[in-house]
């Protein structure tokens, strides 16, 4: 007699005072002081609660959290390769489906959450992420975006902004802007191309209640969901550790980060500024943009202006200019 697999329904949080007290990402981890990804992990774990299994592809939220022989995860957690977060999560979810159905496990289907960095989501991890979205597993894929391969010492990733100084995109006379390429847009990769996906959202550590509610909404959806969370990185972006939340807010105020939900084909925006501040306000606070000239900043502004008109990558994307002739 097959047991019906039930999933839980987490209530939305009305205001900051109502944020649940229980910590599921506890003190005692080796992340940098002021780490944006650690902050979002704490909030996500809080929102998800006890009936959760996290998958942790290699990255800062693995290595920095799980050194050495210990972790801050109060719920079950498993390391995965950076390549396969989506695939391992699919297996965990499939196992719980069949085990509950056969009466070998009791209770509601646990929240299965992949906590992948930008590389583990849309670079080396893209295949596994897309397949999880396609196959309709009841699981949540979170891309915590610190805009680089941070754990290996800050190298460029597909979400690294144009003009960012990383150890693979250092500025120099031959390449004045450092990074010539414009970034991939993770939620847009998921939206529209994966029929089983009904909810995709962006979030930021700047708005914690919004973030936690989006986590809960995503978990409540029966099926695959995707969250793209902005998580500033003091070490990689080169700013003082106390500015993490301030910078995240500024990203939204300048249009460098847009908060939205895509639900059943419709877009809804959150915390949309009435007037956008110029991007230079955001860029000037980060050492990784210190080398940019006016021309580069203008390019960045143009990119943001176009993006603000509609979600996704703007149609006329500035392509890298041809390499200077010798």
């Amino acid at each position: 007699m097959a047991v019906e697999v039930k999933t839980q329904n987490l209530p939305l949080i009305k205001k900051i005072r109502n944020i649940p007290k229980e910590e599921y990402y506890v003190p005692g981890h080796r992340t940098c002081a002021g780490c944006g990804p650690a902050l979002q992990y704490k909030l996500v774990a809080k929102a998800a609660g006890a009936n959760t299994v996290f998958l942790g592809p290699t990255g800062c939220m693995y290595v920095a959290n799980a050194s050495y022989l210990c972790t801050p995860y109060r719920v079950p957690w498993m390391h995965t390769q950076i390549t396969n977060g989506g695939a391992v999560a699919s297996g965990v979810e499939a196992a719980f489906q069949v085990l509950i159905r056969k009466g070998k496990r009791e209770g509601e289907l646990p929240n299965v959450i992949v906590m992948a960095g930008d590389g583990g989501s849309v670079d080396i991890g893209l295949q596994a992420m897309s397949a999880m979205m396609y196959r309709g597993h009841d699981a949540l894929f979170i891309c915590y975006d610190n805009e680089s391969y941070a754990n290996t010492g800050i190298q460029t990733s597909p979400t690294t902004p144009y003009g960012a100084n990383t150890t693979f995109t250092p500025p120099g006379p031959a390449i004045p802007e450092g990074k010539k390429l414009f970034p991939k847009d993770p939620p847009q990769l998921v939206i529209g191309g994966h029929p089983a996906v009904k909810y995709v959202a962006t979030a930021s550590v700047a708005f914690p209640v919004d973030l936690m509610n989006k986590v809960r909404k995503a978990l409540n959806v029966v099926g695959p969901t995707f969250l793209h969370i902005h998580a500033p990185c003091p070490k990689g972006w080169k700013f003082d550790s106390d500015k993490t939340v301030e910078l995240a807010k500024l990203a939204i105020q300048t249009g460098m980060w847009i908060l939205y939900e895509w639900e059943n084909g419709e877009y809804k925006y959150q915390h949309k500024p009435k007037e956008y501040k110029p991007v230079r306000e955001y860029l000037k606070l980060q050492g990784r943009f210190a080398h940019l000239t006016e021309a580069h900043i203008a390019k960045m502004q143009a990119f943001v202006d176009a993006k603000l008109k509609a979600p996704g990558i703007p149609v006329a994307v500035p392509i890298p200019p041809p390499r200077a002739q010798a």
Binding site: S90, A95, A131
Partner: protein, 397 residues
């Protein structure tokens, strides 16, 4: 009620997995193992098998999916061939070191370049150092039996290792043979339900695989080494039970055929053993004192058993269907392990390796007769002229 069917190796493996009540399967198509997954898909669609059938996006994903599912407490099966096996390579160490007893059926296939659908042991053999159990089936019956035996050994809490359950592509995977299917009650008696000491379960949270210091890495390596020291005893137990419950007569590690007064022997594994048996019967009728020793487990390599079995011969020809370019014997890799097994014996047989069946070619009877001739010469000369013969490509026919 036990019944006899005629099944290909792929179909036999599927039947075994079904009777083992596998719970999560991850598929991806590649010749020649694909039929395993097609059979299982039919069983799931018909309602004969209650399992999650996950369409993996590639072989690396297949292994990743079953890793997650097995760590969560479900019995799993995946499989591949050729470059699919090597594409998933990244996952093999994490799975073995994480002590998750995933089962992977490999219908072997020559590695690219370029595309070659033929059978070779090289694909799986390239992965033999990762810590998995590994062995070859000679025919579809063994393919069926090995599936159950490997679940039993791999899932045993004294072992907890994943298993490569191999069979020759096409020769076993596709050519049908007689398979005695047991009663479900026999399988249930032999194979206990799958449990892990610490599965992923919100009721009992654990952290699976935190980062470690280099000095702790040695300990992790030692754990796997210990598992391979402990596995042989569990294998012996399992085979004894298997023989009793299913009425078979398997020797756990090596099987001898017509070796009683043999002066020389073939050392061989997999499908070509069948042809070798015929060759030996014929040679015996001609008065040649020859036998064969068949290897059932490559990992854990049964050093004692190999040494004991081979010590009684004057010459041993190791039949190799895999390559190890630049290796000590400049041929395959079985000879290296055979010589290592024989090294401490006061009296060692002469050994050489015969590269045969590469690329998916058959090993016809006359090639075995050729190998037997060389072994006879070796005994006469008191030494091996060469350590490797690429059968069919030697200057003197």
């Amino acid at each position: 009620m036990a019944k006899e069917m005629v099944l290909s190796g792929c179909a036999a493996s599927a039947q075994a997995a079904k009777m083992a009540k596998v719970e999560v399967i991850c598929s991806y198509p590649i010749r020649p193992y694909t039929a395993l997954m097609m059979e299982l898909a039919k069983m799931v669609a018909n309602g004969e098998l209650d399992a999650e059938f996950v369409y993996g996006e590639g072989e690396h994903a297949q292994l990743s999916v079953v890793l997650g599912a097995s760590a969560a407490g479900a019995r799993v099966l995946t499989g591949s061939s050729g470059v699919g096996v090597t594409y998933a390579f990244e996952t093999y160490s994490p799975i073995a070191g994480g002590r998750v007893p995933v089962q992977m059926m490999i219908a072997d296939r020559a590695l690219d370049p370029p595309g070659d659908f033929g059978s070779e042991h090289t694909d799986a053999m390239s992965c033999r150092d990762q810590g998995w159990l590994m062995g070859w089936a000679e025919n579809p019956q063994e393919a069926f039996d090995n599936c159950l035996i490997n679940y039993r050994v791999g899932e045993d809490h004294r072992v907890l290792l994943p298993q490569f359950v191999c069979q020759d592509g096409y020769f076993v995977s596709h050519i049908p043979g007689k398979v005695l299917l047991p009663d479900q009650s026999q399988v249930d008696e032999f194979l206990p339900p799958y449990t892990l000491p610490h599965p992923l379960d919100p009721k009992h949270p654990v952290s699976h695989g935190p980062q470690i210091r280099p000095d702790q890495g040695t300990i992790m390596d030692l754990q796997r080494a210990q598992a391979h020291l402990d596995a042989p005893a569990v294998i012996k137990e399992a085979i004894a039970d298997f023989n009793r419950i299913f009425g078979r007569d398997y020797s756990p590690f090596v099987e001898e055929y017509m070796t009683d007064d043999a002066e020389m022997a073939f050392f061989i594994m997999g499908a070509h053993t069948m042809t070798a048996r015929h060759a030996i019967k014929h040679l015996r009728s001609k008065g040649v004192k020859i036998g064969l020793v068949k290897l059932r487990f490559v990992r854990p390599w049964p050093t004692q058993e190999v040494a004991e079995a081979l010590s009684k011969f004057k010459a041993v020809g190791v039949v190799e269907t895999s390559t190890s370019y630049g290796g000590a014997m400049r041929g395959g890799n079985l000879l290296h392990e055979v010589r290592a097994s024989l090294y401490d014996l006061p009296k060692r047989p002469l050994t050489t390796s015969f590269m045969a069946g590469l690329g998916g070619e058959m090993v016809p009877l006359k090639e075995f007769y050729y190998m037997a001739d060389i072994l006879s010469e070796m005994i006469k000369d008191g030494k091996a002229k060469k350590t490797v013969y690429w059968v069919g490509f030697e200057a003197e026919a």
